[in-house]
């Protein structure tokens, strides 16, 4: 009941665009929500990401997979404003975002949840989520009361309403990641970036995470670009998969198609995976 009210409240808030089915036309050329055009990132002589182009349609869940060091996290960081591309462009709904810094990117409508939770440990769970609500896209700086209400709705959405007044330190890793998700959602993002948020979780926790991520898209209409190693979750959740290897796009398509791709099997999945 509480969770349903929270969903309704978040939908009424500035984050709500619409409840969507995935925009299947994204790959077909209609204006997407996110466009990455030939983005490249060098660290000295090392190419972390090289000439990567892809699109994410409004309401899609797209996973980025690949071996360690393939450039997946660097790609997300460039979209979030944490790294500046050496060349290329990133656009959200047609507007350039890659030249901006993280707080500007966030206010433009892109939130990121990192693998390592970045919680404010001296504050309560609700205070953390309130900070997430204060500076969101479209709604500017909220008043204290509105921000706390929005934060409470986000916590209810991820199932942490009962822990609102607890110190962050009392949460386990799984719960801290849900808190990070609540912080991201409280800001009302259009695009949510998830960076290996299921790493280190057990099967029950992964199943719960899959359910929540799906409801973020299905019920709040938030588009999701998601870097992940947990392939079972990717297969269950993603509509499209982009495979990176040595900083380049190796393959792109539905999870099933990508998993049958010979180069993907060689470079990432291994033959045992499909046996």
């Amino acid at each position: 009941m509480w969770a349903q009210q929270a969903r309704r409240a978040l939908l009424r808030g500035p984050s709500a665009h619409r409840q969507v089915a995935p925009d299947q036309s994204a790959a077909g050329g209609i204006v997407p929500l996110l466009q990455a055009e030939a983005i490249t990132k060098h660290f000295g002589n090392v190419f972390a990401v090289e000439d990567v182009t892809f699109r994410v349609g409004d309401g899609e869940i797209v996973a980025v997979v690949g071996p360690n060091g393939a450039g997946k996290s660097t790609l997300l960081k460039m979209i979030a404003g944490l790294e500046r591309p050496t060349s290329g462009q990133v656009r959200l709904a047609g507007r350039l975002v890659h030249a901006r810094v993280p707080h500007q990117v966030r206010r433009q409508g892109i939130s990121i949840v990192m693998q390592t939770p970045l919680t404010f440990t001296s504050m309560t769970v609700l205070d953390n989520a309130t900070l997430g609500a204060m500076f969101g896209p479209g709604h500017g700086v909220l008043t204290e009361r509105r921000a706390r209400q929005r934060a409470a709705d986000s916590l209810a959405f991820v199932g942490l309403a009962q822990r609102a007044d607890d110190p962050v330190a009392s949460l386990n890793l799984h719960q801290q990641r849900f808190l990070e998700l609540a912080k991201a959602l409280a800001g009302g993002p259009r695009l949510l970036l998830l960076d290996e948020v299921m790493a280190g979780l057990n099967e029950t926790e992964i199943a719960a995470s899959v359910q929540i991520v799906r409801s973020v898209r299905d019920e709040l209409g938030v588009t999701i670009l998601w870097v992940e190693h947990v392939m079972s979750a990717v297969i269950e959740l993603a509509e499209r998969v982009i495979v990176l290897n040595f900083g380049k796009v190796l393959a792109e398509g539905t999870p099933k198609a990508v998993m049958r791709h010979p180069e993907v099997i060689d470079a990432y999945l291994g033959k045992a995976h499909i046996a």
Binding site: A80, L82, V101, P102, H103, R106, R107, S111, I112, M114, L118, T119, F120, T121, S122, M123, D127, T130, L131, G132, M134, F135, G136, V141, E144, A147, K183, G187
Partner: protein, 286 residues
């Protein structure tokens, strides 16, 4: 003994106010501002000049505080920008060197232009008895102002949006950036606030004793000790440390001698680092 401790509390409230400005800037930007005391002296001289020019004391004090706040803001927007781009030991060293340079410049200019400059604000009135101990009206006013500032700062950092933003940057700058907070804006505001607090310290200290043009170094060292003992980044810690150190200062001066107080205070800072490396209330706890 009661009078000695009460004197220590009065002194300590001033110490606390002094420490807050230093501790916030360090907590946010990783900069130990060695020009902090000189900014207070600059404010004192501005107030003294304004009063000499016929401006009422209260208005002159406001002008002095604003001048110090502007100096802090100017520092942040100019010299500190390259410091923030550094990390680790480079950041600390560059911050120390640049603020030390600013301290030399302010002290040099003030000594050149006004070598005998001093600020003394006389608050008229009979001594006020507190717990049976007569206190000078100036001391009472200085304490009341320090307490009011402490209360305002604790409310600001504990219950306002901007206060939470400041605490979030102190605790985890990356996390703060990812929830939409601009660390650069927060640092600029806090550097200005720190300057304003230095100005307020100049005003309150001059209510109990003249603040001379060469007082900057002592003010900086005291601020540094208070912020280390309280926990770098902690407002409540700075005030708690200020009061405790004020009592230690007062008691050691009474029973041993004034000459020993600087050594005792430095000893307290060293002991704190060894026993409680994060200070009495830890860093960034608000």
């Amino acid at each position: 003994m009661k009078a000695v401790i009460l004197d220590g509390i009065v002194l300590g409230l001033g110490f606390g106010l002094l420490g807050v400005g230093m501790t916030l800037v360090y907590g946010l930007g990783g900069v130990l501002n060695l020009a902090y005391g000189e900014v207070a002296v600059l404010a004192a001289i501005v107030v003294a000049q304004a009063m000499a020019g016929g401006i009422p004391t209260a208005l002159a004090a406001v002008i002095g505080v604003l001048a110090a706040a502007s100096t802090g803001l100017l520092l942040d927007l100019t010299l500190m920008r390259p410091v923030y781009r550094q990390s680790g030991g480079n950041k600390v060293l560059l911050g120390l060197l640049l603020t030390l340079g600013v301290a030399f410049v302010i002290e040099g200019v003030l000594t050149w232009r006004d070598p005998l400059g001093a600020l003394s604000i006389n608050v008229a009135g009979k001594p006020i008895s507190i717990l049976g101990v007569p206190l000078a009206v100036g001391s009472v006013w200085a304490s009341v102002i320090a307490l009011a500032a402490a209360a305002a700062l604790l409310v600001f950092f504990g219950a306002t949006i901007f206060g939470r933003a400041v605490r979030s940057v102190i605790q985890d700058e990356l996390g703060a950036r990812l929830v939409g907070i601009s660390p650069a804006l927060v640092r600029a505001v806090i550097f200005a606030l720190s300057g304003g607090l230095a100005g307020l310290v100049a005003v309150t200290q001059s209510m109990t004793a003249p603040l001379t043009v060469n007082a900057g170094f002592n003010l900086t060292v005291t601020a540094l000790i208070v912020s280390v003992v309280g926990g770098l980044g902690s407002v409540a810690g700075a005030f708690l440390a200020g009061v405790l150190l004020g009592i230690v200062d007062s008691v050691s001066a009474y029973y041993i001698g004034r000459y020993i107080t600087s050594i005792v205070l430095l000893g307290a800072a060293v002991l704190t680092i060894l026993v409680w490396p994060r200070g009495l209330l830890g860093g960034g706890q608000g």
